[in-house]
């Protein structure tokens, strides 16, 4: 089980803040593809990813129990 968090425009597109995906040992890239298809998101290309609050690359493998956040380009400050 992977805990997935959405923010900003992606959250509005997905219509939910958080989902649980029944997968494990997949890469960020694979999860992105799965989530994009499942929630009909326009694109996750510009989107960075954090696993357990740390930025990771698309090659990172996600384990069960991990929290994955998709981070669109930030605009704080």
């Amino acid at each position: 089980m992977i805990n997935v968090l959405f923010f900003a425009a992606i959250r509005e597109e997905a219509g939910v803040e958080q989902v649980t995906v029944d997968k494990q040992d997949i890469t960020v890239k694979e999860l992105k593809e799965y989530v994009q298809k499942t929630y009909k998101l326009s694109s996750l290309k510009q989107t960075m990813t954090a696993v357990n609050e740390e930025f990771v690359t698309d090659d990172e493998t996600i384990g069960t129990g991990d929290t994955v956040a998709f981070i669109p380009p930030v605009s704080g400050g």
């Binding site: 509005e12 960075m48 609050e53 380009p73 704080g76 400050g77």
Partner: protein
């Protein structure tokens, strides 16, 4: 202590409180940056803003910026508070305070902090205009991308 120096809050920020956090006997200079909600951006009128954050990670990243500053300017002390939620024009969205014995460091470290916030801290703003709304993406005013994560997308 870091928890206290770096915060994400959903209430108005008292600038004086942030300044107090970095005030100390061996600092002769304190700089602050106060980011406020501006009415016009590129000619378009903003009615209000909403900030959203991935709060625990945002606090962690603000704290990391503090660590980066400590490494680059060992005698600087930094405090940052970012507000989230709905904000009106002229309201304060972020306050960065840096103290140091000498002023040069206080200016440089402060500017470094705001640049890094706009790169790595998971906070987003949504603009509310008369004719719609939009979540804003990358608003870096600089073109170059300093080293450090994240690497390319921004």
């Amino acid at each position: 202590m870091n928890q206290h120096l770096f915060e994400v809050v959903n209430q108005p920020i008292a600038v004086d409180e942030i300044i107090k956090k970095v005030s100390r006997r061996d600092a002769g200079a304190i700089t602050t940056f106060i980011g406020t909600v501006r009415e016009f951006t590129k000619g378009k009128k903003t009615l209000s803003l909403e900030y959203q954050a991935y709060v625990p990670m945002a606090v962690k990243m603000l704290s990391q910026i503090g660590d980066e500053i400590k490494e680059k300017w060992p005698d600087a002390l930094t405090a940052i508070t970012h507000r989230i939620g709905k904000l009106d024009i002229t309201e304060v969205a972020v306050v960065i305070a840096v103290s140091s014995p000498h002023r040069k460091t206080a200016y440089e470290a402060n500017e470094y902090a705001i640049e890094r916030i706009k790169q790595i801290v998971p906070i987003w703003k949504k603009e509310f205009w008369e004719d719609g709304t939009k979540w804003i993406g990358d608003q870096l005013e600089t073109k170059e991308y300093p080293e450090g994560k994240p690497s390319k997308e921004m």
